[in-house]
């Protein structure tokens, strides 16, 4: 990519293809249930109780289960949108946000979540181009450059930037808003494999 200038300290592809991309060990998250007049914690819901897996590079892992069994909680824990009670996670040979590991902000540059409801994951007050440009802006890319890349991205998924870039989510079709919400991942090609 042509953004080498704005890439803050790239995370190296360590260990090559043999290194698993993500290793999760014994991940746990319990939610307290408060009840009674003093709101004392009596019970816990064991949403995620000792989940372990590893994902090799270039592979896809599907997690299947009935609704409410903790799939989304697992995803949130991995994305660090929620703090796990216990368990460890190694991303490409490095811990996240711990001594000697990569920082959370850097980690998030490399890991993205595609939300179930593409429409709800778009800010209704931002145009599609602004939403896409927001991610790179957060990581320090100048506004003009981020805008240009957002337009490039729109063109790449088949939405003419001049026509769709300045639209708001509510006047996009479902499919178009899905492409919009998938794109916010900053630097789509930071890591190539």
């Amino acid at each position: 990519m042509n953004s080498a200038l704005h890439t803050p300290s790239p995370v190296h592809d360590r260990g090559g293809p043999a290194q698993p991309l993500l290793v999760v060990r014994d991940l746990k998250k319990h939610f307290p249930v408060r009840s009674g007049p003093l709101e004392r914690t009596k019970k816990f819901v064991h949403a995620v109780d000792g989940v372990s897996f590893s994902v090799p590079k270039g592979k896809t892992l599907g997690i299947v289960g009935e609704s409410g069994c903790g799939k989304s909680t697992t995803a949130r824990l991995i994305a660090r949108l929620m703090q796990a009670d216990s368990g460890s996670m190694v991303f490409d040979g490095e811990g996240v946000d711990e001594f000697g590991g990569i920082r959370l902000k850097e980690f998030r540059r490399n890991l993205q979540m595609v939300f179930q409801d593409s429409f709800a994951s778009l800010n209704p007050r931002l145009t599609i181009a602004e939403t896409i440009a927001y991610g790179p802006r957060v990581h320090g890319m100048p506004a003009a450059e981020a805008r240009r890349q957002a337009h490039d991205l729109l063109a790449r998924v088949g939405l003419a930037p001049a026509q769709f870039g300045s639209r708001y989510p509510h006047d996009l079709s479902r499919a178009a808003s899905a492409s919009g919400s998938t794109s916010p991942g900053p630097w789509p090609s930071t890591r190539a494999w």
């Binding site: 998030r108 939300f115 209704p124 007050r125 957060v138 026509q163």
Partner: protein, 299 residues
């Protein structure tokens, strides 16, 4: 027949005229211009505000000049279009000048409360948890009092005077604005796009500024426009009770008070300031209603 299957992305659709840049506020503005109620209310307000702002140049007479022989002249007397008050001062001029203070006391507290309340509400709502609960419970204490009682109590404690009644009114409105801002923020905070923004690595400040503020400001703004009429009425009430503006300063609420004695002599004159308060607050209310529905276009 050759069975070739061609797959391609829809190539950039024939470039239509670039969509007109449609900023949110422009759409709201267009919606308002199509609403006859908004236009009528806006026109009335414009007239009243214009008359008040340009009173020194437009008013036919000196609002302070009294005359013992020209007391309580009826509406339509030669030289006094709307008659004279209990001290023989020109009513039209006094009403125009009075609008300056009355409108000021209606608008300033709401603006101040809008700023302070939104900031507190955003903070409380975004932080959430225990701190939020403490802030809201403390403000609930204020919220529990009727606003008239609270305004009179604070104003009385601070002592009479215009700046004190401005402070009192601001304090009355802040908890109400915080309440609205907090509940909207709490709602917005758990939406997917906030989570998506957190996923992109943005700081809390950036998320609040870009994603939360824009979506909270709308409902709070609508609520605040609705407060304008309440503020006007409360301000007039404070002046009526002698807690706000002092005589001989013209102010609608105070004029209503001093003309009280003339109600059996010339009831039409005595009713004029009250009618203006009524019309202005109704116009503010109708405009607020129209703004509310105009801003609903999204979602």
């Amino acid at each position: 027949m050759s069975a070739t299957l061609e797959l391609s992305l829809p190539t950039a659709a024939p470039v239509a005229a670039p969509a007109p840049s449609r900023s949110y506020w422009r759409v709201v503005g267009r919606q308002l211009r199509r609403d006859p109620m908004a236009l009528a209310a806006g026109l009335v307000l414009l007239l009243i505000i214009g008359a008040a702002v340009f009173a020194p140049w437009l008013a036919p007479a000196d609002p302070y000049k009294a005359s013992m022989i020209k007391r309580l002249l009826p509406i339509g007397s030669p030289g006094f279009l709307l008659g004279t008050d209990e001290l023989g001062r020109d009513m039209l001029s006094r009403l125009m000048h009075g609008g300056r203070l009355s409108l000021l006391m209606g608008v300033v507290p709401v603006l101040a409360a809008f700023g302070i309340g939104t900031a507190i509400g955003l903070f409380a709502g975004y932080v959430g948890g225990r701190l939020n609960m403490v802030i809201i419970r403390v403000l609930d204490v204020f919220y529990a009092f009727p606003s008239v009682l609270l305004a009179v109590a604070i104003s009385g404690a601070l002592g009479p005077g215009m700046s004190n009644s401005l402070i009192a009114l601001t304090l009355v409105f802040v908890p109400q604005v915080v309440r609205v801002a907090e509940s909207v923020t709490t709602q917005v905070r758990q939406l997917d796009y906030i989570e998506a923004a957190r996923m992109s690595g943005a700081s809390a400040f950036s998320i609040i500024r870009v994603h939360v503020l824009g979506n909270v400001l709308g409902p709070v703004f609508v609520y605040a426009t609705g407060l304008l009429s309440v503020s006007m009425i409360l301000a007039s009430g404070l002046s009526f009770l002698g807690l706000g503006v002092k005589p001989p300063e013209p102010e609608w609420g105070l004029m209503l008070n001093t003309l009280r004695s003339a109600i059996y002599v010339n009831p039409w004159i005595a009713a004029l300031p009250g009618a203006l308060i009524f019309v202005t607050s109704i116009a503010f209310n109708l405009l607020a209603d129209s703004v509310r529905s105009a801003m609903d276009i999204r979602r």
